[in-house]
């Protein structure tokens, strides 16, 4: 059953240098209890997609110019702001990248969790505090009772991210959007936090949208993956498909750029140089004609420079936006 349906979402920013098409036609479905990964390099529109779903784009700078976001049959793009506030944190919750600064330094951890519970579930102060205690235990913070009355600076980065997860999940949201939740944490903590998120997802039945630039994280956690490039979708597949048979040249480039443990170690212990994708991401403040990836693509043909390919499953086993997907797949095989 589709829980969240995003169709042709377009979010543009209006700057002095022109219109920046940060998100330019994104569509995806999210089923209840599913984990969807959105990957792409910095500036490809992943975070803007997430912020757009919660309608958190500052109106002074940009807005959603087209498309639809349906949560459980309810259109979010046209919802009045007060109704939208009731969705935020209650039905769709979000975890941000920076656990060090995402908690208010002047309020105790317990207050910050209880605030959300009181706001959305209408519980009394006492009951909200109990709920906060329960949540801290759920995210496995030791000595939860004492931690409730501590301030964020008394907690480590990993613990703060656990608190963020507790705040996000305290009202049983249907969708949890995690925007680079582990980027600021060190590797050992990353795995713990991801495991915790997945475990709580199973327990509470929330769907997760995991936004990351780390394909390793995607491989470990996501069932389905959406690859974005320059504000557009380039490929959508199950995690297994994507890693086993990438169809888009960009996806292939990303995968080749990953360090692998089984890379052969050469003379003097030097591993082969990691592959890189030549060129840079196109500027988004000018209209892109044709495929956005064409200038960097090894498989480019004339058609790519004039007409943008649509995301379609016609050229292969899963949806991809590439005229030459067939050739890419054959070459890979």
């Amino acid at each position: 059953m589709t829980l969240l349906q995003v169709r042709d979402l377009k979010t543009h920013f209006f700057t002095a240098d022109g219109i920046v098409r940060a998100v330019d036609g994104i569509s995806f479905d999210l089923a209840a209890g599913e984990t969807l990964g959105i990957v792409g390099e910095s500036g490809c529109g992943k975070s803007v997609t997430a912020l757009s779903i919660l309608r958190l784009i500052a109106p002074e700078t940009g807005r959603i110019v087209g498309g639809s976001i349906m949560l459980d049959g309810q259109e979010l793009t046209t919802l009045p702001i007060e109704a939208m506030r009731a969705v935020r944190g209650r039905r769709i919750a979000m975890i941000f990248q920076e656990p060090m600064t995402s908690l208010n330094p002047v309020l105790t951890v317990g207050t910050q969790i209880a605030e959300s519970v009181q706001r959305h579930l209408g519980l009394s102060r006492r009951a909200a505090w109990d709920r906060a205690h329960e949540m801290l235990e759920l995210v496995r913070i030791a000595d939860a009772r004492r931690r409730l009355s501590e301030y964020p600076h008394q907690l480590s980065g990993g613990m703060r991210q656990r608190v963020m997860i507790a705040i996000a999940l305290c009202c049983d949201p249907q969708v949890l959007i995690a925007d680079e939740p582990t980027t600021a944490l060190d590797v050992t903590i990353q795995a713990q936090i991801l495991d915790l998120m997945l475990e709580l997802k199973e327990k509470l039945g929330s769907a997760i949208i995991l936004i990351t630039h780390d394909l390793g994280v995607v491989a470990e956690t996501c069932e389905r993956v959406l690859v974005m490039y320059a504000g557009r979708m380039v490929e959508q597949a199950t995690a297994g498909e994507l890693f086993g048979r990438p169809l888009h040249p960009y996806t292939r480039g990303l995968l080749r750029a990953l360090p692998r443990a089984d890379d052969e170690v050469g003379v003097a212990g030097i591993r082969p140089k990691l592959a890189e994708i030549p060129g840079i991401v196109p500027a988004l403040n000018r209209p892109i004609v044709g495929c956005a990836f064409a200038p960097r693509c090894r498989y480019v043909v004339d058609l790519c420079r004039t007409t943008a390919p649509a995301l379609t499953a016609a050229n292969g086993p899963h949806p991809v936006a590439c005229w030459e997907a067939q050739r890419v797949a054959e070459e890979a095989a």
């Binding site: 935020r88 600064t101 208010n104 605030e115």
Partner: protein
């Protein structure tokens, strides 16, 4: 410094007196400023007991230099300069504190709204720029010609041009706090505007606001003295430092004490308030405070 706590260290931490000593050593300006200010407040409160009648004229004792019964000398009417100076401190302190409190409160409210609601920000800030351009002395003279002179009018005349200064400080803090991830995170959690302002943004503005309030207080005391000196301040029959200086002006060459003494009090008071402000700024700065 050693990282191992000795018994002596523990004792030092435990004793409140020793802790106070450490705090003073670390930040002597707060200490000096607050002690001077506290002494002045105490003196003002104790005025009826320590000072004589500031209004009693005694022509026999006119223009006496500082000596046994009149510590600070007497003025041209034989009034005791010490008594007048002590009572004059009342006016300065009342004006200083009242202006600081009022302009902080108004400035806080306006600043919060300006920094948070961008739509009305430009309009209010232009109005504030306009108010800031009014010199308080001219405003006071205008207000007094419209009404009768009094403490309230003086306070109002100083508060009005001070408000924009507070607004600017608060607004700039709100703008920077607004961009903090925890504010965005609170918005993403569905927090309402009013709650966001009061719970998440307001507490962060208090430290800079307190510091700004001390500067406003010091400048209000100076402006009040200036206004009184020009005859646009508190009515001349009330002994305020500005009035005492203004009345002593004609006899400056033969009785300089009636100008120097209230002038020195004014200078020391303003210095004390400024020192307190500087000390608080250092103490309340979150980057420095964390060292505790």
């Amino acid at each position: 410094m050693t990282l191992v706590a000795t018994a002596e260290d523990m004792q030092r931490i435990a004793s409140p007196l020793a802790r106070a000593a450490t705090a003073i050593r670390r930040n002597p300006t707060i200490f000096i400023g607050s002690v001077l200010l506290a002494a002045l407040v105490a003196l003002t409160l104790a005025a009826p007991w320590v000072a004589g009648d500031p209004f009693r004229q005694a022509p026999v004792n006119r223009l006496r230099p500082p000596s046994e019964p009149f510590w600070f000398g007497t003025d041209q009417f034989g009034r005791d300069v010490f008594s007048r100076t002590v009572y004059g401190a009342r006016v300065s302190l009342i004006v200083g504190f009242a202006v600081a409190a009022l302009s902080s409160l108004i400035g806080l409210a306006v600043g919060l709204v300006c920094g948070y609601f961008k739509r009305i920000d430009a309009v209010i800030m232009r109005a504030m720029d306009g108010i800031m351009a009014i010199p308080s002395i001219l405003l006071a003279i205008a207000l007094i010609t419209l009404t009768r002179p009094g403490l309230g009018i003086v306070i109002a005349a100083i508060v009005i041009p001070e408000v924009p200064r507070v607004v600017r400080v608060v607004r700039s803090v709100v703008l920077s706090i607004r961009a903090q991830p925890y504010v965005e995170s609170a918005i993403a959690g569905g927090t309402r505007n009013a709650k966001l302002l009061v719970r998440h943004i307001l507490p962060n503005t208090l430290a800079p606001l307190i510091v700004q309030a001390t500067y406003v207080c010091a400048s209000a005391m100076l402006i009040e003295a200036g206004l009184s000196f020009l005859g646009a301040g508190v009515p001349p029959e009330i002994p305020s430092w500005g009035n005492i200086i203004a009345q002593g002006r004609t006899f400056f060459q033969i009785a300089p004490w009636s100008i120097f003494i209230p002038g020195a009090f004014l200078a020391v008071t303003v210095l004390a308030v400024n020192m307190l402000g500087d000390g608080l700024r250092d103490r309340l700065d979150p980057r420095l405070a964390r060292r505790l």
